[in-house]
């Protein structure tokens, strides 16, 4: 909310666009789109064809990006709140996704790793995994909020143990669900040509937008992130706000884990959502949010998540092998963060101002 105001004020001033927070992800997105337009315009083609199940579906790189970025966008929501409130990041989300996915499969499969029919309804499984994930979120939150442990270190515990716990939940077996209705959530609902994860991500975004608009969560989170002591003097309970952001993070993890597990109808504990925490933190940083907490812009973070997926898909299209991918990603990330560094951005803003002054001077003459 505050961001929007400062943003509007910034627009009035010449060169303000460079100081608006959402400038960074938008500029990055435009640069990527331009790059793809120049090298190969067919990147943007969207085909309408039948998939293996005989349903007409949309396919194309753009759809792939929107589809695959769903988990990341949902995680970016939680990560933004956690970062803003506690000034640190949750590095356990990848491991926590393994746990929540494992719980879903455990509930659906029971003791038999290859059941012919599911032992419980999908909704029950999802709700139970939500509760479990929120409990783990609460564990992280309690360490951070009530024991005053730095977030990265507190979540290091779950990061270390998470995948082992996930394996332990299913007795280290790899359950597979053959029921096609389970796969609807990770691919396509019959008759709808758009991948379901896109809808799930949009629902999450609408919910968080409504929550930020109609509750004081956003305001309190920023107040606690900027200065916990003055927030306390104003009657906010900083520990509780920090705690609650971690519980929300747990909920986001449950949704993302549910999508991940329905994509394949199975789970691989050691590689599912590997390194996704790094991408989620990157999304928050690309959105121009300070990783030290305080003010945040939810829209920028979510856009940041899509930029990362856009970049990944672009690199894949250019036949970069998946193991060499991180090196290219790193170069792009470094260019982006250097461009968005405060000192560099100030200089860019000044340059813009000077250009406009020069133009005005010419017109006057």
């Amino acid at each position: 909310m505050t961001m929007a105001k400062t943003g509007e004020a910034g627009l009035v001033k010449a060169g303000g666009i460079f100081r608006r927070q959402i400038f960074i992800p938008i500029a990055a997105l435009l640069a990527l789109i331009l790059f793809n337009l120049i090298t190969d315009p067919s990147f943007f083609a969207i085909n309408y064809s039948l998939n293996s199940a005989g349903d007409p579906v949309l396919s194309g790189y753009l759809i792939t990006i929107l589809d695959n970025a769903s988990e990341l966008a949902i995680l970016a929501i939680g990560m933004t709140l956690v970062t803003a409130a506690s000034g640190g990041q949750d590095i356990s989300v990848g491991a926590a996704i393994a746990i929540s996915g494992s719980v879903v499969l455990r509930v659906l499969c029971g003791d038999n790793p290859r059941p012919d029919e599911m032992q419980a309804s999908i909704l029950t499984a999802f709700l139970i995994s939500c509760v479990v994930s929120m409990l783990f979120g609460a564990f992280n939150g309690a360490l951070v909020a009530y024991f005053n442990i730095q977030p990265m270190i507190a979540t290091l515990i779950l990061y270390t143990a998470g995948r082992s716990i996930a394996a332990w939940i299913n007795n280290n077996r790899l359950p597979i669900i053959s029921d096609p209705s389970f796969g609807y959530f990770g691919s396509f609902l019959p008759g709808i040509p758009i991948p379901t994860p896109i809808f799930i991500a949009i629902i999450c975004m609408i919910i968080i937008a409504l929550v930020l608009k109609f509750t004081t969560l956003g305001l309190y989170t920023q107040a606690v992130g900027i200065n916990p002591n003055s927030a306390k003097l104003n009657g906010i309970n900083p520990s509780f706000i920090k705690f609650i952001t971690y519980v929300i993070m747990g909920l986001c993890v449950a949704v993302a884990g549910f999508i991940k597990v329905t994509r394949f109808s199975t789970i691989n504990y050691s590689v599912v959502a590997l390194d996704i925490e790094m991408d989620a933190i990157l999304a928050v940083a690309l959105g121009g949010n300070a990783l030290s907490g305080g003010k945040f812009s939810m829209a920028s973070s979510i856009l940041g998540a899509y930029v990362i997926q856009f970049l990944t898909t672009t690199l894949f299209k250019f036949n970069v092998s998946s193991s060499a991918l991180p090196a290219y990603k790193a170069v792009v990330v470094i260019i982006l963060v250097v461009l968005s560094a405060p000192t560099v951005r100030e200089k860019l803003g000044k340059l813009w101002k000077n250009l406009q002054h020069a133009r005005l001077g010419k017109e006057a003459a």
């Binding site: 360490l143 442990i149 270190i153 270390t160 394996a167 193991s323 290219y328 990330v333 560094a341």
Partner: protein, 345 residues
């Protein structure tokens, strides 16, 4: 354990945060090792077990020292693990495919580490970018570059290197008698000597040099450090440079221990280094920490891993869960002790 510490704090009047956390770490390490000797016996009674812990963790000790320095200065470096893998691979390729010598491999390792340190330090210090993001990019870069240099695992055949790798330094008067009644002297590898020298040099550096004191000051409170006339940017830059250089040394020591190059080397080493630093009493918020503590942090971490595997809980998940539980207990104890101390004063 807590009672011991409390008694100490009362008798010695207020201890600094650094010393208090260091005391906890050392007490816990010795208590744990003693308990293992008493209740598990077997391997833990042999002197070589202790030196094997050192042999296996020499590289981690050096990496953790670098991590502690960056953390004391208020930053973080999560690139060291993948950087180690990159250094192993580059040194291996240099030795076997490019006809390099051991000296050239050492220079290459140090150069790669230093280059990472300089670039990351410059981005963090002079462009004010958050260290987490810069080193995250560094981690991605090192990860990708490793497979670009060479994508498969291979063992180094270079004779001079293999000879150096197999060099054992025997410890006088220490050792154990094996089943046949023959006395087997205890030994360490060259890497351990490098690690111990590094720890001593860094301990002296942090305690008695201007740079060392500046690191604490900058990590504790950059504004007041600035008012004291300390060049904050330069100090931050140097902390990352040192960490990069130490990653170079640590990377070569790791290479010397495993003797091969592989993209999967040193996976998770950055998290182990962070965990060791934390157990050793370094705080992520900066300004608090001790190299000796870090050294004992590494030893504690690997001792608990050894205990778990000797207890027969060899299922892969138990090690991780125990390590996590141990980090958890340490953190909570530290937090409770510091909270109580701050309340009292």
């Amino acid at each position: 354990m807590k009672a011991v510490v409390d008694k100490k704090t009362r008798r010695l009047a207020p201890m600094s945060d650094t010393n208090l956390l260091l005391t906890i770490t050392i007490v816990v390490f010795f208590a744990m090792y003693l308990a293992a000797m008493l209740f598990i016996g077997r391997g833990f009674l042999r002197v070589q077990t202790f030196f094997n812990i050192l042999n296996e963790n020499a590289a981690l000790i050096i990496l953790s020292c670098g991590m502690s320095i960056v953390m004391i200065a208020g930053g973080i470096d999560i690139s060291v693990g993948k950087l180690t893998a990159l250094i192993c691979m580059s040194a291996a390729v240099n030795l076997d495919y490019q006809g390099g010598s051991v000296m050239s491999a050492i220079f290459l390792s140090l150069a790669i580490g230093l280059a990472f340190g300089i670039v990351q330090g410059a981005l963090v210090a002079f462009l004010d970018i958050q260290p987490f993001i810069v080193t995250l990019a560094g981690m991605f870069f090192a990860k990708g570059m490793t497979t670009i240099v060479n994508s498969t695992q291979f063992n180094v055949q270079n004779e001079a290197f293999v000879a150096l790798k197999n060099t054992r330094i025997y410890i006088p008067f220490l050792g154990s008698v094996n089943r046949r009644g023959v006395f087997v002297p205890a030994y360490v590898e060259i890497g351990v000597v490098v690690a111990i020298v590094t720890v001593i040099v860094l301990f002296i550096m942090l305690r008695w040099t201007k740079l060392g004191r500046s690191l604490y000051a900058v990590g504790g409170n950059p504004q007041s450090a600035n008012m004291l006339g300390i060049n904050v940017k330069k100090t931050r830059f140097l902390s990352h440079l040192l960490c990069g250089l130490l990653a170079g040394i640590g990377g070569f020591v790791y290479f010397l221990h495993v003797g091969s190059g592989a993209p999967s080397h040193a996976t998770g080493a950055e998290m182990n280094a962070i965990a060791s630093s934390i157990i050793g009493g370094t705080m992520l918020t900066g300004g608090v920490g001790n190299i000796i503590g870090t050294f004992f942090g590494v030893l504690s971490l690997s001792t608990i891993k050894n205990i778990v595997s000797l207890l027969g809980l060899d299922d892969a998940w138990w090690t991780n869960i125990t390590v996590a539980a141990m980090i958890c207990i340490f953190l909570v104890v530290q937090s409770v002790v510091l909270l109580r101390k701050n309340k009292r004063s």
